[in-house]
Symmetry: C2
Subunit: 286 residues, 2 copies
């Protein structure tokens, strides 16, 4: 039985409930973050705290907790649940005003809802999936236009994951106007020679915390980084492909729509970036 955090209290997970009037439940009016835990420490907590604030600002939602207090809650949950490797999920919603209305509730009388829980994932860093690489399919990207705000409007990404599963794949890359936007819960990359290509930041994609770190490490390792759109056809013909996310770190993609990428096995760049990322993240984790 996990201990979770809800609105200022630590409690058993099966007692953690929110009102049916919570705007997270009725209107998807909430944002989230997922922070990885390695060696019992938090990976890039600062990055996630900053992005949380950015998401809240974009939705004119009040932040119910200071960065210092948020760090303390993360650490306490890690301690209480004995997490060595895994994730901490955080969600903030506009709260439960006691009825349903499209108009935002008055923030003076309706406090945001804040919930955090852990996910224990022993072996996350040494994932066999990273050795093998993953298979993706391509699907149309029909999500809303502000994917840079990390909202809980995750129905389509969830449907995409199911489409992938039914097709015998591990995930889906989404395509809009002919170009890959990103994976269902990760940023997408291809490799051509010494060059890493990934879509530039905009409202079209999540501003990945792991993306920022990996691109920095890639440049430090003398790799060239090109931020531009790419098609799924270009991806199929690339030397390598991979994804990044807070919970998968760097993960090679070895097949796209049934077509082998490169040799159809993890190449040279993605595994090396994963190694660097894990090493640096462990060093910097708090």
């Amino acid at each position: 039985m996990r201990t979770v955090y809800l609105n200022g209290e630590y409690m058993p997970e099966n007692e953690a409930n929110v009102s049916i009037f919570d705007r997270g439940f009725l209107m998807a009016d909430g944002v989230y973050e997922v922070t990885s835990v390695l060696g019992g420490k938090l990976v890039d907590f600062e990055g996630h705290a900053v992005r949380l604030q950015r998401s809240l600002d974009a939705l004119e939602m009040r932040n119910p907790i200071s960065k210092e207090a948020l760090l303390e809650v993360h650490r306490e949950l890690v301690r209480l649940n004995g997490i060595d490797e895994g994730m901490i999920y955080l969600q903030v919603t506009r709260g439960a005003p006691g009825d349903r209305d499209f108009v935002f509730p008055d923030p003076e009388t309706t406090a945001p809802t804040i919930v955090l829980f852990t996910q224990d994932k022993p072996g996350l860093a040494n994932s066999p999936a990273a050795q093998k690489g993953m298979k993706v399919i391509s699907i149309e990207d029909i999500r809303w236009g502000r994917r840079d705000i990390k909202t809980v409007q995750l129905l389509y990404p969830s449907m995409g994951k199911m489409m992938a599963k039914k097709a015998g794949a591990d995930d889906a890359w989404m395509i809009e106007d002919g170009y890959v936007t990103e994976g269902t819960s990760n940023n997408a990359y291809i490799v051509k020679g010494n060059k890493i290509v990934t879509r530039a930041l905009s409202n079209d994609i999540l501003h990945g915390i792991t993306r920022a770190a990996v691109l920095r490490f890639a440049q430090e390792a003398q790799m060239e980084v090109e931020e531009r759109n790419f098609t799924i056809e270009e991806a199929k013909k690339a030397d390598e492909a991979f994804i990044t996310s807070a919970s998968t770190f760097v993960m090679p993609v070895v097949e796209i729509d049934g077509v082998a990428v490169g040799e159809g096995v993890p190449g040279r760049v993605a595994p090396r970036l994963r190694e660097i990322y894990l090493e640096e993240s462990l060093k910097a984790a708090i």
Copy 2:
């Protein structure tokens, strides 16, 4: 204190809670319906029940309740809360699997969540807003691509309502590729002479239950109905404009982006359609 219905039980509204792991809360993985109550009876219950099933089917979600039992819950909530005029809100989510995962939970072990509550709105039929007409602004439509599925992904419609409020208007009409799709929680129409123009059904708009009824009544009243796209410029120059929804019925729009529509007061067609709709709905209510 309202009595609400949650997963088979009637309970006080302040005791109606769902798990933090409910997919409605974590992933907007839920659908809803709003049925109006007039004279203590349900308006077009059948239409809402059919659309609920359509939404559930589109998301491969199990329907947790038969149509007969659902009708009984609606009626019991009307009785318990003494509703003469108002709405009944219904939401079904994919349930609470006890953890967070993009992959759908096994429907054999995770039951859907079903919740219903009433909203008491005395005077709904004789709304002063219908006498005065409403003002709308136009905003970009950035919602996801399956607006025909009535999901709880209502963050953008909610933001749109706030943009309207800040602009001193009552609602927003959304524009995609140069054409009006619909209002934030209603279908949009313009009137030119004896002709009613409204966007045709597709994945781009909600398949309004009230829309279907109003178009039928309009044709029965010898009005011409043209289902096609229209621009916001065409709407500003129209003789009349109006919206329909289950909770506003037919409501004249008298101003668009600060420009008066027609004489800037409710015209002839929208009030007449409202009258017919209310009369017929009351007659057919169950």
